[in-house]
């Protein structure tokens, strides 16, 4: 059974169709990269996986649980799916330590002490242990994004979703975040990553999905995708992104 299963998913904003019959899956331990031009529906697709965006047609399963079923306990499901956003979305009124422990105590019912310990362990892993009492606003973008990853990991997720985690960062900070993600992949985390970092895709991804205008146009093993994409749109996209 796949960890993430997306079956024939379509979604509309009013009369505008954002997603058209999208089908793909992510196996346990697999890393897939989703790329495509701006507005092609990448963020929307990844947000349907933890039901931040509802879908009108099709089915989505995470670890066998149907996401778009009214009977599904969404908070419980989401607590098991880590998500990292383009703009970090740390809670600015809370310290780093509080950012890490909030959902652990509220959602998982962990004691404050246990939540702090676990949060700090992951903070240490992303190399920011000494910043635990700072506020997000006192950290650089790259540091904030690493805290956001630690925050997601503190919930012991069964898979991780990344929506352009480095595209809001200054170039010199991109690598520190990609390194953390690569490390995570090495440890066997199941990951779905929207990114235009083709170097990362080449090093880390098992498969690459290319989206255009709400369609999954290409869904191929990495070597195949970078070797010779079948669709013309993907070829053009790659040419543009690799040679700029």
């Amino acid at each position: 059974m796949a960890m993430i299963e997306i079956k024939d998913v379509s979604k509309w904003y009013g009369s505008f169709q954002v997603l058209t019959d999208c089908t793909t899956s992510v196996e346990k331990g697999e890393v897939i990269v989703v790329c495509g031009p701006s507005g092609s529906g990448k963020s929307t697709l990844i947000k349907t996986v933890n039901a931040l965006e509802p879908v009108q047609k099709g089915d989505i399963f995470v670890d066998g649980v149907k996401v778009n079923d009214p009977k599904t306990n969404l908070p419980k499901l989401r607590a098991r799916v880590g998500m990292v956003f383009q703009h970090f979305e740390l809670f600015p009124h809370l310290t780093v330590r509080q950012n890490l422990s909030l959902a652990q105590t509220l959602v998982l019912g962990r004691a404050q002490r246990e939540a702090d310990e676990r949060g700090l362990r992951y903070l240490d892993r992303v190399g920011l242990a000494s910043h635990k009492d700072k506020f997000p606003g006192q950290l650089s973008g790259g540091q904030q994004q690493r805290v956001a990853i630690a925050r997601a990991l503190s919930m012991d997720p069964i898979c991780m979703l990344f929506d352009e985690p480095t595209s809001a960062l200054d170039p010199e900070m991109i690598n520190e975040v990609l390194e953390v993600m690569q490390q995570l992949a090495t440890e066997g985390m199941t990951m779905m990553v929207v990114t235009h970092e083709m170097g990362f895709a080449n090093r880390v991804a098992n498969r690459v999905i290319f989206m255009d205008a709400g369609h999954i146009v290409e869904d191929a093993p990495k070597a195949e995708f970078f070797g010779k994409p079948r669709s013309e749109r993907a070829q053009q996209f790659l040419a543009k992104i690799l040679h700029h």
């Binding site: 947000k47 933890n50 931040l52 969404l74 908070p75 419980k76 989401r78 607590a79 098991r80 799916v81 880590g82 998500m83 956003f85 703009h87 979305e89 740390l90 809670f91 600015p92 009124h93 909030l102 959902a103 509220l106 959602v107 998982l108 506020f135 606003g137 006192q138 925050r151 997601a152 919930m155």
Partner: protein, 230 residues
Amino acid sequence: MFGQFDFGVITRNLPYLIKVGMMFTLELTALVIVLGIVFGTLLAMMRLSSIRVLSAFATAYINLMRSVPLVLVIFWFYFLVPYIGAWIIRSPTPVRVGAFLSSVITYSMFEAAYYAEIMRAGIQSIPRGQVWAGYALGLNYWQSMARIVLPQAFRNMVPILLTQTIVMFQDTSLVYVLSITDFLGAASKIAERDGRYVELYIFAAVVYFVICVIISVLVRRLQRRIAVIR
């Protein structure tokens, strides 16, 4: 030119002015700040809710309260609250709630409409991504409201909440229409009894001014303490 004035009338009656009058005004203000903001925040959440009946009710309530004069609302509630109370506890006769409780209810209900609009703007000022981040971590609606959205919304809105609170503090003097002895009521009574209008109304103005300044200073200090570091 102040020769014919006797400001001694103030010091002689200070215990009455402060203990009876000012206590009423300050207690009323404090309770209305808390109840008004709590009820106003609930109204704001209802107004922003995707559940139709809730948002329709909140919108109607807020618009109604904001389009009638406070004095009218004071009269309404003064006469209505005893009957509503009777209806709630199924008593055959109107419930006597007393001047203070009646004022607290009236002002809280009225101010809530204004606080609601402020809190609505505050809630809407929080980027959607913050709510997404809360939901993605497994928080439910109430948890993300209470721990993520409202604390930030409140911080953003402190200056406007302060302005509204100062207006409300001054408006508490309108309870005089119910012959209630708030601070201004106490000052009026003495002014009339002793024929010392100028002295007492100058004194009252100074006191209102000083208290408004104190509230502003305290709020600014609070604002600095809870400021979000960006």
